[in-house]
Amino acid sequence: MPVDEDQASGDQVAPRTQRGMVAFATTQWSVVLEAQGESPAAQEALENLCRTYWRPVYSFVRRQGLGPEEAEDVTQGFFAHLLERKRLSVVRKEKGRLRSFLLGALKYFMADERRRATAIKRGRGQRLIPLEELRADERIDMEPADPVTAEMIYERRWALTILEHVLSRLKDEYRAVGNAALFDSLKQLLPDEPGSPSQADIAAQLGMTENALRQAFYRFRQRYQSLLREEIAHTVATPGDIEDELRHLIAVIEA
């Protein structure tokens, strides 16, 4: 279906930050750190973060050898425990990244048999995180079969969750202005994979000129980069950590 070139230019796709700048002041994790978990805004920020990043936690728990049901309960219990605590005293000690904090807190939580037992009860009761998103085959395939550690799985899943979240946001932005088809086409150009459809092919397919498509892709990639940095900014303490975290995520995926 032809795409309107004005739309494809992407000006109204979403409010964009200045090139290379990431709106850091309201970063979620930094809000939590700054308020040390005590303000309502910090609680809400932490809840949002947990809602986004439950999947790495679940993967880690599964890798510990727990069955799907029990792992779900422990995951629910962990987040319930984390969010129910009013003081989040651990946060004071963790001035680092959300990724490390959650993993550390999770290990501590799982080491505590008593809490784990209560967590199972708690998790069964409340269902804080939408674990129903796990499909049946994931439950099967996440059985411990590879010689990879739970930490590696956690880290990899973390990187994928960030990417997934970013692409999902980008997709939503395009979909919101009726450009879903453009998103589906442009995303193929993102990895610059040989053998993918060329810009000319896509332009022809969408009924656009190549020039318009090239500009649309330029904006698409800029927006992707901006969203990715923004999402990473949500999980680190200072803007200086963003680039380093991005490199860490790449290294994790390459491992």
């Binding site: 290379g20 809840e47 809602r51 999947r55 969010l83 004071r92 501590y108 080491a111 505590d112 048999e113 008593r114 809490r115 409340q126 269902r127 804080l128 995180i129 939408p130 129903e132 998103e133 499909r135 085959d137 994931e138 996440m142 079969a145 590879d146 994928l160 990417l163 997934e164 692409l167 999902s168 193929q188 150009l189 993102l190 990895p191 610059d192 994979e193 040989p194 053998g195 993918s196 459809p197 060329s198 810009q199 000319a200 092919d201 190549e210 020039n211 090239r214 500009q215 892709f217 330029y218 990639r221 992707y224 980069q225 990715l228 940095r229 991005l246 490199r247 790449i250 995926i253 390459e254």
Partner: protein, 683 residues
């Protein structure tokens, strides 16, 4: 928390499975699993974001119309790639060649599969841009050197058919090898070790042939080794690196050459004078390393990082990455990767021969580098660091000795435990006494176990209602373990949570939650003390076990009065109180203890505490009621007691430790009470 239920459950997400590979990335060769977002290669997509915004702008908005007629992918290629592809496009059919499809792209240019019209054969055409600095003289030189490389005739070298130039770009046509690049093939299927050795031996002989004809390859890497359908290797791009390097800066060279993972150190530092046939030996070793271990010898996140690794570190032993690798083969590989060119094989032929010896199971010529040789090499590479490290070690040793001698560092006692003040979680703040009493009771029972070192209440009460850094507290108190807990009392229901933590490892040794009626709480302290002793593997004597098993009273009211007394006693011991307040608290404690004794006349500990406080407050010593032997024992135990190290904690000692001075024969308050006391301590 309700908003968690409102999460939109989009079912558009691909099913994320961990183990199913859906395809291989055509760009980086990585496996793409079914949980990859949008089915894209996560590695390549994330790497896209590494590009700075200014680099991204190369894409086209800043250059409208410049590249829009290009064939695929030109948007994201570097400037050379763009220019090369543009040249191909502008040439249309590039002379005698009809360009059919792009089959490869690198820093140096673009490779097309093409049809040579005059001979009606399929060839590969590589179009290379030499960049904006390329002068006519440079183009001519390129042409001459490419022609020299084209004169190489060897079955292991991809033959060059023709060299040409057009609009600042050079191109040459060569034999089209059906198969693929070595790295692609190796990624699809890991190569057996012997096959890898055979392959590198063949390539080394090919390289030696070129060296004999005065031509260095200078850029040996898996991408430059093509495998035909029979699996035979063919080297391509001979001498090309040098053509591109010439008259360029090191930065430019790195940019053009792309990954320096296979680059020899002398190339990385731009020492052209040191580049020779052994540079290619390094490249061969690097490719062998890749085939054996699945990764290049050095790979950082960026070009700079990789070069830093290359210059500053030794490659990891291949056997560490793949235990199946034979020690001799590992030695051969590492000899190629020596930083000092003189220590490598003197020629590609020498390498080929050593590999062939290994394949025939004969002794190899290369010698294994021992630990001392490796250490020496490190020292040679890092003299400043070595000096600094030696100084630091000497300094650390001296400091360590001083600290050791001064006993500055105390090792925490592994069987030591500090019972921190319990938190009162009861809604009624008046129930604080209950938490304090329970804590004191647990401490008292633990203190009666000789095999445990228990920190006294006096030392731990400072940590009341302060943020707790357990490891710091344990360090200050000189113990490895900390017991913390909370008490919640609502009417007759009591919940006690306790957790024993090894503060050194920050791990939980034991934790338990007790939900009891008040009447059932009696004896819980003993149970907790016993479990702690078990967790710390303390040995209990028969008597200690008996003492722990004794239930202090069966009367809940007496117990409650006793706990209230304990709470007042604890508060009275605070050093910050004026003596009048302290005395008032002591009197309150005494009255509660007496109340407890009234309710249960056999409540021995209540009795003991009552008597002790009575004595302290009236300066009258009590133990004259005891026999001489008992008094002797009491005195001995008193001598062994100190503030921070409570040991036996029988009622006698409780009396004794509370007495500051025993000046003379005590006067019993009444004969009846004395008899009740004696009965109590015996039971």
């Amino acid at each position: 928390m309700g908003e968690f239920y409102g999460v939109p459950r989009e079912s558009t997400r691909e099913t994320p499975t961990m183990l199913r590979v859906i395809r291989i990335c055509r760009k980086c060769g990585a496996k793409i699993f079914s949980d990859a977002p949008e089915g894209l290669c996560p590695r390549c997509v994330l790497k896209t974001a590494l590009a700075m915004p200014s680099e991204a702008s190369v894409a086209g908005v800043s250059d409208p119309g410049g590249v829009d007629k290009l064939s695929r992918g030109a948007v994201t290629a570097g400037p050379d790639g763009k220019k090369a592809a543009r040249a191909a496009e502008m040439l249309g059919e590039l002379g005698d060649y009809e360009l059919l499809e792009e089959i490869g792209r690198g820093g140096q240019g673009v490779v097309f599969r093409a049809r040579q019209k005059s001979l009606n054969r399929t060839v590969a055409v590589k179009v290379i841009s030499l960049g904006q600095w390329a002068s006519k003289a440079h183009l001519k030189r390129f042409r001459l050197e490419a022609e020299a490389a084209a004169r190489l005739e060897h079955p292991g070298i991809v033959p060059i058919h023709e060299v040409g130039e057009r609009d600042g770009s050079c191109y040459f046509s060569m034999k089209f090898i059906e198969g693929g690049q070595l790295d692609e093939v190796a990624r699809r299927q890991p190569m057996p070790i012997r096959q890898a050795a055979e392959l590198i031996a063949k390539v080394a002989r090919t390289v030696h042939y070129a060296h004999e004809h005065g031509i260095l390859h200078r850029d040996i890497k898996p991408g430059n080794i093509l495998l035909d359908q029979k699996g035979e290797p063919h080297l391509t791009d001979f001498g090309l690196a040098r053509l591109v390097e010439t008259e360029s800066t090191v930065t430019r060279t790195l940019e053009v050459l792309g990954t320096p993972s296979y680059m020899a150190p002398e190339q990385a530092v731009g020492n052209n004078a040191a580049i020779g046939s052994v540079t290619d030996v390094y490249g061969l070793g690097a490719v062998l390393y890749q085939l054996l271990t699945g990764q290049p010898p050095f790979a950082g996140g960026t070009t700079y990082e990789t070069i830093k690794l290359l210059l500053d570190t030794e490659p990891r032993q291949p056997r560490l990455l793949n235990p199946k690798i034979d020690r001799d083969l590992s030695t051969i590989c590492l000899k190629c990767l020596e930083k000092d060119p003189k220590r490598r094989y003197s020629s590609a032929l020498a390498l080929a021969e050593d590999l062939e010896r290994w394949l025939r199971h004969e002794p190899i010529r290369a010698r294994h580098t021992g630990i001392f040789a490796r250490g020496r090499k490190w020292l040679q590479r890092n003299p400043t660091s070595a000096l600094l490290a030696a100084s630091l070690i000497a300094l650390a040793a001296a400091a360590g000795w001083i600290v050791w001698k001064s006993e500055f560092i105390r090792q925490p006692v592994t069987n030591g435990v500090a019972v921190l003040p319990f938190e009162n979680l009861s809604p009624d703040p008046d129930n604080t006494y209950f938490a304090e009493g329970i804590q004191e009771e647990i401490l008292t029972r633990l203190a009666s176990i000789a095999d445990l070192k228990v920190i006294s209440h006096t030392s731990t009460q400072h940590y009341q209602s302060k943020p707790r850094n357990l490891s710091q507290i344990a360090k200050q108190l000189g113990v490895a373990n900390v017991l913390e807990g909370s008490v919640q009392k609502v009417a007759d229901q009591v919940r006690v949570n306790v957790q024993l933590i090894n503060a050194q490892t920050d791990s939980h040794l034991w934790a338990e939650s007790y939900d009891r009626n008040l009447t059932d709480m009696l004896g819980v302290e003993s149970e907790i003390a016993k479990r702690i002793a078990e967790s710390l593997q303390a040995k209990l004597t028969g008597r200690e076990e008996e003492e722990l098993a004794v239930k202090p009273t069966n009367n809940p009211e007496a117990y409650d009065a006793y706990l209230r007394g304990l709470a007042f006693e604890i508060r009275s011991m605070s050093g910050s109180l004026p003596s009048s307040s302290s005395r008032g608290l002591e009197e309150k404690a005494t009255s509660f203890y007496e109340r407890a004794v009234q309710l249960d006349s056999n409540f021995a500990i209540a009795w003991a505490r009552s008597l002790a406080w009575t004595r302290v407050s009236t300066s009258i010593a009590a133990p004259m009621l005891l026999g001489a032997t008992q008094r002797s024992v009491l005195w001995r135990k008193r001598r062994n007691c100190n503030r921070t190290h409570l040991k036996p904690c029988s009622p006698w000692v409780i009396i004794n430790t509370k007495c500051s001075v025993i000046t003379g024969p005590p006067e019993p308050r009444s004969v009846a009470s004395a008899k009740r006391y004696q009965a109590a301590v015996r039971c």
